[in-house]
């Protein structure tokens, strides 16, 4: 048979590798910054962009989509060509993919720093960028499937299945979760509200972990681990079971982020059952990885690449054991809203994604530059600093999370809450400091790696196009004794795409449809009214400043939470919340029932200098809210958008909205004046106070409202 000659494209792989190195440092620096602001809020230098509420999404987005994202593309572009024995489908698409993705990252960072956010975790980027992500993702897809169609290898290796599942599921998750109504160039409201928004968001959020941080990296593991160890994967059969079981089960597990919330109970239970089942395929994959090294452990001692891969796979095993445990309701009751979750995700991010990426980089770069690693010793140093960094990062946070939760739930013998919320925060600050030290060590390790790889690159020469040869894909394939349907699928990438989509879409639909049907059945709580125009502006400010990253709005039905915050939250209270703001972490107290708890003047002083009202508070000052004016030009559009989303403002209300806004602002101004505080009549702080004072009040005010309802008051709610 005629052997064909062709060239692998290394240039695109190189570009993505450089991007990984660059964004790893940026993402970790943003994380370090955010972590320091938890014990030293002054690090924001008084700037809005550098407060925790804006730095945290910059950090998470940079690590997930810039560092790991580029890591995925680097690994896929390298391995896919070799597994298919062909060059990537189109150099132009590869270039567009690379530059498009970097542009989105830069625009994403700038807009997040500027407070342009849709307020949904890990999906914060606003609608123009959501569209750009979809476009670039499609470019990647065309390039991926084009390459598969042109391949010279008849079988599709399991790593590629993981890539296909990743592509199709991320496309589905991104599109469904990003359905939003634009209000202006950089502001949109989620199409869904309250409970439904929460379900869609955590279906997305959990599966972003599954299909962006896990499946593509498992694909990389199945390619790069055999390469680095120079032996095939332990069990190919196990890898097939691993694949199908994993993608099928993962998609269902999202509701475990919403245990004890106002989400319907059956959806919570479904999430728990599938989360527990996830242990099996996850550990199957981990064992498959580790067993690949059986008889080669002497190599692990010598070879830094293998060291990184082994710790990565072990961390994958730890995180995927812990994940199902955290979805047990009784464990979740302790862990949720605490730093335990943060520790858990960092075992995944620093250990699994970080170390696997580092291993691949240490393996890939010497090969593409036709040389050997500049210093194995430095790589070993990186390995140890990184490992100690992970331990110093995670252990204090496990401790902090558990301690804080126990303190929250502690009652005195007289039946009173034993600790003020703030006491539980100040108690764990030493843990926060230690965590930042761990993070710093990990970052230092990464800097050492950048230096080592730079030296490696300098001593070698780069092959932009690597010569390879293989026979063309023959029409006559050898017939094995038994052919079954799976054999049929695995030769057909497009059918594989369709089947993966069906597998994941069924999960998503069965999970969500009932909750969507609810909308027509939901007997909304009669006293829950739409937000006033001023409160709506306040809510936008709340979202812009990322308040939801430290404050939940979800009182769970626990004795301590009801005692601390008030009546537990009901699904019907959130029907006008586009987007929902339940939050996932309580660095500060829950705000679901903060309305009416303190006078307006308390909020005024608290936003100006939190420590003046709560000594020891780690919340930053929000000085700019006292200078910035409310953008009343937007009010009309905001009301119209809400009306389109089904919020029942009276017809034609948009044009009168600013009138109501002015009178409500004047009322707050007057109440502040009563406490000897002077403030301009149109400052943002008034809107934020209005919003905070409204939170959770509607159901409290129910009986009073029934008797005293007048025209116009219907909108104000109370």
């Amino acid at each position: 048979m005629q052997v064909e000659q062709f060239y692998y494209d290394n240039k695109t792989v190189k570009r993505f590798a450089y991007a990984v190195l660059f964004w790893s440092i940026v993402g970790m620096l943003a994380g370090l910054w955010a972590s320091i602001s938890l014990f030293y809020p002054g690090i924001n230098l008084g700037l809005p962009a550098t407060t925790f509420g804006r730095m945290r999404p910059v950090h998470t987005n940079a690590v997930i989509f810039a560092f790991v994202g580029n890591g995925i593309f680097m690994g896929v572009y390298y391995s896919l060509q070799r597994l298919c024995k062909t060059r990537m489908f189109s150099d132009t698409l590869s270039r567009l993919h690379f530059w498009g993705w970097q542009l989105i990252i830069v625009a994403g960072a700038i807009t997040l720093w500027a407070g342009k956010t849709s307020g949904k975790e890990y999906a914060e980027l606003e609608w123009p960028l959501d569209i750009a992500i979809a476009v670039v993702w499609i470019i990647f897809g065309v390039n991926l499937f084009g390459t598969l169609i042109r391949r010279r290898e008849k079988h599709i290796y399991v790593a590629i299945w993981f890539y296909i599942a990743t592509w199709v599921t991320v496309a589905m998750l991104h599109i469904v979760n990003s359905i939003e109504l634009p209000v202006s160039m950089w502001k949109s409201y989620s199409w869904y509200a309250g409970v439904q928004d929460a379900l869609v968001q955590w279906w997305y959020g959990h599966n972003a972990v599954a299909f962006f941080l896990t499946t593509p990296y498992l694909g990389l593991m199945y390619y790069f681990l055999p390469k680095a160890a120079n032996r095939p994967i332990y069990s190919y059969r196990l890898s097939i079971i691993h694949f199908w079981a994993l993608i099928f089960i993962y998609i269902w597990a999202g509701p475990h982020h919403l245990l004890y919330t106002a989400l319907p109970d059956w959806a919570q239970s479904l999430g728990v059952v599938f989360s527990i089942m996830l242990i099996a395929p996850s550990w199957g994959g981990m064992l498959n990885g580790l067993f690949t090294l059986r008889g080669a452990w002497d190599k692990v001692r010598e070879e830094p690449v293998l060291k990184f891969l082994v710790v990565a796979i072990t961390c994958y095993g730890m995180a995927t054991f812990e994940g199902p445990m955290l979805s047990l309701k009784n464990v979740n009751a302790i862990s949720h809203f605490t730093d335990w979750t943060i520790a858990h995700v960092h075992i995944g991010a620093l250990g699994w994604n970080g170390f696997l990426t580092f291993g691949v980089l240490y393996w890939l770069i010497p090969r593409m530059w036709n040389t050997t690693l500049y210093s194995k010793k430095l790589a070993g140093t990186h390995f140890w600093i990184g490992t100690i960094g992970i331990v110093l990062y995670a252990v204090p946070l496990y401790w902090a999370g558990f301690t804080q939760s126990m303190m929250w739930k502690n009652f005195t013998e007289e039946g009173q809450l034993k600790f003020q919320f703030l006491e539980t925060v100040t108690h764990i600050i030493p843990m926060y400091v230690t965590r930042s030290i761990g993070g710093t060590l990990y970052l230092i390790g990464a800097v050492i790696m950048v230096y080592n790889l730079r030296k490696t690159i300098k001593q070698g020469y780069f092959s932009a196009n690597e010569l390879a040869e293989a026979p063309p894909l023959s029409e006559i394939t050898p017939i094995h004794s038994r052919q079954y349907w799976h054999r049929w699928i695995e030769k057909r990438p497009l059918q594989m795409l369709v089947f993966s989509l069906i597998a994941v879409a069924i999960g998503g639909m069965i999970e969500m449809i009932p909750t969507f049907l609810v909308k027509s059945n939901i007997p909304t709580i009669s006293s829950v009214k739409p937000y006033t125009p001023l409160e709506l502006h306040g809510r936008d400010i709340y979202v812009r400043e990322g308040c939801y990253l430290c404050h939940s709005q979800m009182v769970r039905p626990f004795r301590d939470e009801v005692a601390r915050y008030g009546e537990y939250s009901k699904a019907g209270e959130f029907v006008y919340d586009h987007p929902f703001q339940w939050g996932s972490k309580r660095t500060g107290p829950d705000l679901a029932r903060v309305g009416g708890k303190y006078p307006d003047s308390w909020h005024y002083n608290h936003m100006l200098d939190p420590a003046s009202m709560s000594p020891g508070s780690i919340m930053p000052n929000y000085n700019w809210l006292f200078d910035h004016e409310i953008d009343t030009n937007r009010t009309e559009n905001m009301i119209r958008a809400m009306q389109r989303l089904g919020v029942p403002y009276p017809a034609g209300y948009a044009t009168q909205a600013n009138g109501d806004l002015t009178s409500q602002a004047a009322a707050i101004k007057a109440s502040l004046k009563g406490d000897k505080i002077g403030v301009g009549s149109n400052k943002e702080i008034l809107a934020l106070i209005a919003y905070l004072q409204r939170l959770g009040k509607d159901i409290k005010a129910a009986p009073k409202e029934q008797t005293a309802m007048k025209d116009g008051q219907q909108i104000m709610g109370n």
Partner: protein, 52 residues
Amino acid sequence: MKFINYLETISGISIYGLSSLLLFGFIFLAMLVWTFRADKTMIEEIRNIPLD
């Protein structure tokens, strides 16, 4: 204020949980059967693709 548990208004809610488990069980079993009956030489061939 009266809050009625709206899920009572969806009839046959349990079918969702049940059908999902059955669906998963069926696919998983089919998968297992295939894997264990698959041709050994072919599996070996695919297993070695990365090392080619």
